[in-house]
């Protein structure tokens, strides 16, 4: 009976043989993130490995050649500071968006809006985006094809964040940010207003055709087109490069000068691996929650969160792994509860694994190993692929859904979270019609940022009076009315910076990165980053 079960299991799993390729390159190798380092005034760091270079190095050693660089140390950053970086990245986009629109609309509606915004300096509140939420994403292609634990495929934290928090009818940036390259332009004449003639005495009223539809008598469409085109060209030439600079300055390292009070440290230690630009990889840094968030109670709730993730995913795995999975977190929690500073909550931690028995857990792990041996006889790596993917790969890959946490949890559960920044090429509108999930919100933001020329209708009142000149003319201005101008909404096509957090099981591939950490690419340099900037952190 057991053999039939095993055969069945084999059948299910054969379809899911992950075949981790030998070319898997960027691995988390030897994390050294013990918090005990802090008490020695040393900052935690992790080591990462490039598998192909490691092999080259082995070969070089055998042949007596010079060593090949294959392992690098990345200091950790604290989670809160990476959130602040994410906020700066978001603010950089918001600044670009505001400058782009207000420049084009002011240029188009020169001189009226030029006077209002550039001379009088009418301005709304400053851009002040809230701290972006931490959300782990699982990039497509980072887990073996066909593996789906039913936890969904969360998108990067930056998805849908390239928008303003509120679309005000006034600029949220200073006038000098978007009035550059503009001057007062009275000519060319942009329109001849529509007008109405009212002679009350004889009950006569006549308006130019189209007046009631909001159309002027004549509109200088080609001048409007030229102004919009010039505005867009100015944004491409000036504001877009500024956006890229803002992104770079948001990515500058934030490194303390001494480590004497580890509880107050705010560290952002980005590693360009090799750059955030297209085809350059990503800028990454391992993250952790620092000491001030590390209360025993927080630790319990983080462990609980991880257990919930596991409990949702385990039912979708083959039976042997379901049992072994339970054993995995049993071990992790058991060793957590034995930490001395967690003594006050150890009862809660063991409560999470109540009813599980250590012997049974060990048995489950042994069964998994034995079943795997069976699969090896058939020439398959059913559960464990020692060479390129340590541990039972399904249980390991599950960790990609675990949240960023503190080093104690990382160490016990065997994973690590990274903060990543990378660019994507995109063709869209500004504001992004895909950013807001709510169609009403999209309509509202696009409406607030549509390209209109505002013209002012005139009402002329003719009254007859009993004394010379017998006629009096009074003119009054009606409310301004909009004429939509092509392309109606601003276009965007180019690279845009995304950010997000990913979790990587120990010994597994780090997504999005390329090449060699710290090298960078030509033409892109992060201010303040140099080869020895992290010397203090890596002691």
């Amino acid at each position: 009976m057991r053999w039939i079960g095993l055969a069945l299991l084999l059948g299910v799993a054969l379809a899911q043989d992950p075949r981790y390729p030998d070319t898997t390159r960027y691995l988390v190798s030897a994390p050294d993130y013990r918090l005990e380092r802090l008490t020695l005034l040393k900052w935690p760091f992790v080591e990462v490995l490039r598998a192909d270079r490691w092999k080259e190095n082995q070969q070089a050693r055998l042949e007596g050649r010079a060593a090949v660089a294959h392992e690098w140390r990345l200091p950790m950053s604290d989670l809160l500071t990476t959130q602040e970086v994410a906020r700066d990245l978001r603010k950089a986009w918001q600044r670009f968006e505001e400058r782009y629109y207000w420049h084009v609309i002011t240029r188009l509606n020169n001189p009226a809006l030029y006077a209002v915004y550039c001379w009088a300096g009418l301005k709304g509140p400053d851009l002040n985006p809230p701290l972006p939420e931490v959300q782990v994403d699982v990039p497509s292609g980072s887990v073996p094809q066909g593996f789906d634990p039913g936890l969904g495929w969360p998108s990067p934290a930056a998805q849908g964040q390239h928008m303003l928090d509120a679309y005000w009818p006034v600029p949220q940036v200073n006038s000098e940010d978007f009035c550059d390259g503009l001057g007062l332009e009275i000519l060319p004449l942009m329109y001849v207003p529509g007008f109405c003639l009212d002679i009350d005495a004889i009950g006569f009223s006549w308006c130019t055709p189209g007046y009631n539809d909001g159309q002027p008598l004549w509109f200088n469409d080609s001048a409007a087109q030229t102004r919009v085109s010039d505005g867009i060209a100015h944004a491409v030439a000036t504001y877009y490069p500024d956006y890229q600079l803002d992104v770079l300055s948001a990515l500058r390292p934030r490194v303390p000068t001494d480590l004497s009070d580890p509880t107050r440290l705010r560290v952002f230690a980005p590693m360009p691996w090799q750059a955030h630009v297209l085809e350059g990889g990503a800028v990454v840094t391992p993250v952790m929650r620092t000491l001030d968030g590390l209360t025993p109670q927080n630790l319990v709730s983080e462990a609980q969160g991880i257990l919930q993730t596991l409990q949702r995913a385990l039912p979708r795995l083959p039976e042997a792994e379901r049992l072994a999975g339970t054993a995995y977190y049993y071990q992790a929690l058991n060793s957590l509860s034995k930490l001395s500073f967690l003594q006050p909550v150890s009862a809660q931690l063991t409560g999470l694994i109540a009813g599980l028995d250590e012997k049974a857990m060990r048995l489950a792990l042994n069964t998994l190993a034995a079943t795997d041996e069976g699969s090896k006889l058939a020439g398959r790596d059913l559960f464990i692929n020692h060479k390129n993917a340590p541990g039972a790969w399904r249980l390991e890959e599950l960790k990609r859904w675990f949240p960023p946490s503190n080093p104690y949890i990382y160490e016990r559960f065997g994973y690590l979270s990274f903060f990543q920044v990378w660019n994507r090429a995109e063709v869209t509108t500004v504001p992004d019609f895909r950013a807001d999930r709510n169609p009403l919100g999209v309509a509202a933001s696009l409406g607030m940022r549509a390209l209109f020329y505002w013209w002012v209708p005139v009402r002329i009142k003719v009254s007859l009076i009993p004394s010379p000149p017998f006629i009096s003319l009074t003119g009054s201005l009606d409310f301004p009315r909009p004429i939509p101008v092509a392309p109606y909404v601003l276009p965007f096509a180019g690279e845009r910076t995304y950010w997000g957090w990913v979790s990587v099981p120990e010994g597994y591939e780090i997504p999005r990165v390329k090449g060699q950490p710290g090298l960078g690419v030509s033409g892109v340099s992060i201010p303040g980053f140099s080869g020895n900037v992290y010397d203090l952190l890596l002691r």
């Binding site: 085109s229 867009i232 491409v236 297209l278 085809e279 350059g280 994507r424 090429a425 995109e426 690419v521």
Partner: protein, 196 residues
Amino acid sequence: MRWIYVLFLTVFLGGGSLAIDARDYKTAYDLLRNGLCALRITCLLPADMIYPADWQRDVQSRLERSREVLIIGDVQSFQPVIQYLDGWLRTTDPQRQQQRPQIFAVVPQEQVVWFRGWTENRELSSFVKVAASSNENEPLGVVGRTGLPLLILDNQVVYMPSWWQLDGPTLRQVLTWGRLLVDQIRNAQQRKQEVK
């Protein structure tokens, strides 16, 4: 009833395009658009429009004066253009040689070989930049996979092979960005050599 009239006009003009050349068609469309709007029938016809283009009269005459040629999409669709450019690049007429254009091409990965004759020729390679858009690559896929082959001359006019031309204000404005994107994709392609 008015809509039937509009439909009739459009079909008539569309059908007539075989007989009249593109410039007449453009004039006719502009008249129709403005006329319908003035008559208060509809103002909804877009200013951006696709017109049929004549290879010799429209495309080639534009191409002759171009300083910059962007080719995006399937190479097969651009045979006449590529032949024309090849003749131009290899010309011996010194004056023509002076005016040789810069050529950008964004084509599917497997078609890059088509341009070897230019890119591996030491004299010609400075005029030509070829970027491959591969399918497996998410960031670069956007352009190559639009599925619409485009020939863009001096960032102003767009032709689609089998020859239609796009024209209108929106298109010209969007092209300002399009050029940046093509630049960035070209840079990313070169970066692939650098990041190893």
